[in-house]
């Protein structure tokens, strides 16, 4: 089942595990390792994810460092091999496509071209000794060998114009260090857009930018999406950015915690009234600008049992958030709540169900419940 009607990306039961071994362990033959009982425990960076991204859609993926959001993003565009599950591009399994190079009329190269990425640090993503024109021609030479140099230049200058890097003739001969951070990030976006991709993974693209420049870049993404119907997978730890980029196009937001999605739904609904305690805490941690409210927020007790994330090599039992959760009861340490599938607004927390045994379970410790004032 593949074809034009398929979503750009279909992620099913995706798991990505990493195994860290010392040099000694790596050098030891398998038989001896087994004899010594050296069975490495894999870290499950991504642990059972289902997602779909349609054409012309923006999905914001929110999470902290170590939540697995970047690993998920890389797997989504074929830069990371899944341990289990699959990632399909227009219905074609990326791993299978990679191995066979072509399935039906779909080529691996087409998928590669269709799925692009923009990284967080634009300064590191551009070649420091090449002019913008030289840097931007590289991918075009690979993917459009039939075109002439003049064609490349025309396309690049047209994108400069579209993206506000004007006068365009002045920009083509510049080097990355002659650009501001915001301009550099625009160039990396242009580089991805030049290949006319179906989807661009934006990995924390505005985290290093000033508020005004962040908004400029997100506005540009929205404009480009309007013209080229590109989809974006937007990774961020910042709820404000996630809301800005998705809200205006009715996009969704997925909140990740330790390899799993804990809340998924329409961005405005989720951020207005988050249901998962983790999303609620994230909203609480987002500081308001009003000085009185900000001060109140600073003086209030933190609605978390612990600030530190648990060690991913040794994850907690039950709900992964329970050791920090302000609403955790004993049952949360024993069983893991699943995302209810098929719902428009999915929440992996027992509190969603008014009749769940959760409500009769004892609080995790004497402290009982902590209030999350959002």
């Amino acid at each position: 089942m593949s074809g034009e009607d398929e979503p750009i990306l279909t992620i099913e039961d995706l798991e990505v595990h990493f195994t860290e071994e010392t040099a000694v362990q790596q050098a030891t033959p398998q038989a001896i390792r087994e004899y010594l009982g050296w069975v490495p425990q894999p870290t499950k960076a991504v642990n059972g994810i289902n997602l779909e991204i349609e054409e012309n859609e923006i999905l914001a993926l929110i999470g902290e460092s170590g939540s697995g959001k970047t690993t998920l993003g890389k797997a989504a565009i074929g830069l990371q091999e899944p341990t289990k599950g699959s990632v399909k591009y227009k219905g074609y399994d990326l791993q299978e496509l990679h191995k066979k190079n072509v399935i039906d009329d779909m080529e691996w190269a087409e998928a590669r071209q269709g799925l692009q990425v923009v990284h967080q640090d634009p300064g590191a993503a551009l070649h420091p000794y090449k002019t913008l024109m030289a840097s931007l021609q590289e991918p075009l030479k690979i993917w459009y060998p039939e075109l002439s140099k003049a064609d490349y230049r025309e396309r690049i200058l047209a994108m400069f114009q579209e993206c506000g890097l004007t006068p365009v003739e002045e920009y083509e001969d510049r080097y990355p260090h002659e650009l501001s951070g915001g301009e550099q990030q625009r160039v990396t976006l242009i580089r991805a857009m030049l290949l006319e991709p179906d989807l661009i993974l934006m990995d924390e693209p505005v985290s290093a930018l000033d508020p005004s420049l962040s908004i400029d870049l997100m506005d540009l993404m929205l404009e480009l999406q309007d013209i080229f119907e590109t989809s974006f997978l937007f990774i961020s730890h910042n709820l404000e950015h996630a809301r800005y980029i998705t809200s205006q196009v009715g996009g969704d937001v997925a909140v990740m915690y330790m390899g799993r999605i804990v809340e998924y739904g329409d961005v405005d609904e989720v951020l207005e009234d988050p249901q998962h305690p983790y999303t609620q805490v994230l909203k609480w941690a987002t500081m308001p600008m009003h000085p009185h409210e900000a001060r109140e927020r600073l003086e209030a007790d933190t609605p978390l049992r612990s600030f530190e994330s648990p060690n991913p090599d040794n994850p907690p039992s039950g709900c992964k958030f329970h050791p920090r959760c302000p609403k955790a009861r004993e049952i949360c340490a024993e069983e893991r709540p699943e995302l209810e599938e098929g719902d428009q607004w999915e929440v992996a927390c027992y509190r969603r169900d008014q009749n769940h045994p959760y409500w009769d379970s004892e609080w995790l410790d004497e402290e009982g419940e902590m209030d999350i004032p959002v």
């Binding site: 501001s180 404000e240 950015h241 994230l282 500081m287 600008m289 009003h290 000085p291 600030f307």
Partner: protein
């Protein structure tokens, strides 16, 4: 030292008085003035917030307070430091190297952004502390005793942190260990330059809460530099808005944020994306930040200002305010700005309930 503060003084008790601070760099293209004759007083014990876009001079200002502008930058002006109330001031820009080494860290300390790279990866955190004690002639054992206390105040386990190398610490732990190193000599003034940059939301939040507590407990004067208004909004007693290498608006936090009078400050509030506001109300400050070699004439904000007229292009504008108020603004038309340029809806009266 703050115990003596009970003595009533008519004069305000300034810890720093900065006069005409200017920093220039000679570059191939010309002379860049990256700090343009700033004069400002910092009161003892206050939290002074500094807001502005990248490249507005706010970090340079922080460096000037410790005479730490790197070569070939040239710093001129005066930075008068009053070690304690009523004491004779010293001009930090005019002391001997020896005195300066003592003032830095023991009296005035700056914790910069990029804490992630501040530690030497080949030595333990303990060595960072003991090296610091050696450089400041402090007994190592007494010093480490104090280090443990400060680390504990920052909610860290002292022994584990001290024996760790930087790669063994999480981002939040590194940032807090660096703060502990900064606070080790109980400094009078602490300058924090984007102390939460690059950290996750919840870790940022933890560090803000800790700073808020420590500020009360240790009683230092805090200068908090950030590009993100909400980061300093809850902390600051006063706020200075930087634009084009100078202060363009300054005053008590409530005055500057709830009733900003400079067009730039007003526009800057609109760049904040609030989780409950309509996205259409979000705005950017259009145009480019000024080039330090080629600062616009008159009011440097005029090329981006929606209410600028001919006067703003030719005439230089200085900070000014009404008699008897702390609120000062470098704009010829604060009333027009207040009238014509909106501010963020969460700052408008009655907006509080909506947020």
């Amino acid at each position: 030292m703050s115990a003596e503060a009970t003595e009533v003084r008519a004069e305000t008790d300034n810890v720093l008085e900065i006069r005409d601070a200017r920093v220039t760099f000679d570059m191939a293209r010309g002379r860049a003035r990256v700090l343009n004759d700033i004069s400002v007083d910092i009161k003892r014990g206050e939290t002074f917030g500094i807001i502005g876009e990248s490249g507005c001079g706010k970090s340079t200002f922080g460096s000037v307070l410790m005479d730490a502008v790197e070569d070939p930058g040239i710093t001129t002006g005066e930075v008068l430091y009053y070690p304690e109330e009523g004491a004779e001031p010293v001009d930090i820009l005019d002391v001997t190297d020896r005195q300066l080494r003592q003032i830095r860290w023991e009296e005035i300390v700056m914790v910069s952004q990029a804490a992630q790279n501040a530690f030497n990866p080949t030595i333990t955190v303990r060595r960072h502390f003991t090296d610091t004690f050696d450089a400041h002639n402090v007994d190592r054992r007494e010093g480490l005793e104090r280090a443990r206390e400060v680390l504990e105040d920052l909610r860290l386990e002292p022994e584990r942190i001290l024996s760790s190398y930087q790669h063994e610490l999480s981002g939040g732990e590194k940032q807090r260990a660096l703060l502990a190193l900064g606070l080790i000599f109980d400094p009078e003034v602490v300058v924090l330059d984007e102390p939460t940059a690059g950290l996750d939301l919840l870790v940022q939040r933890e560090i803000l809460s800790l700073l808020y507590e420590l500020k009360e407990e240790y009683g230092f004067t805090l200068l908090f530099i950030s590009h993100d208004i909400p980061m300093v909004a809850g902390f600051a007693d006063r706020l200075a808005v930087f634009y084009s290498f100078n202060i363009i608006e300054i005053g008590d936090i409530d005055d500057v944020l709830l009733n900003p009078e400079h067009p730039y400050t007003r526009l800057l509030t609109l760049t904040h994306i609030d989780l409950d506001m309509a996205m259409e109300d979000v705005n950017t400050v259009e145009g480019e930040t000024p080039d330090p070699i080629n600062v616009p004439s008159g009011c440097p904000f005029h090329p981006r200002c929606p209410i600028a007229d001919d006067r703003c292009v030719v005439e230089e504008v200085e900070l000014r305010g009404e008699e008897g108020t702390n609120h000062k603004v470098a704009c010829f038309y604060p009333d027009v700005a207040t009238d014509r340029i909106p501010i963020h809806p969460s700052l408008v009266e009655g907006g509080e309930e909506n947020v």
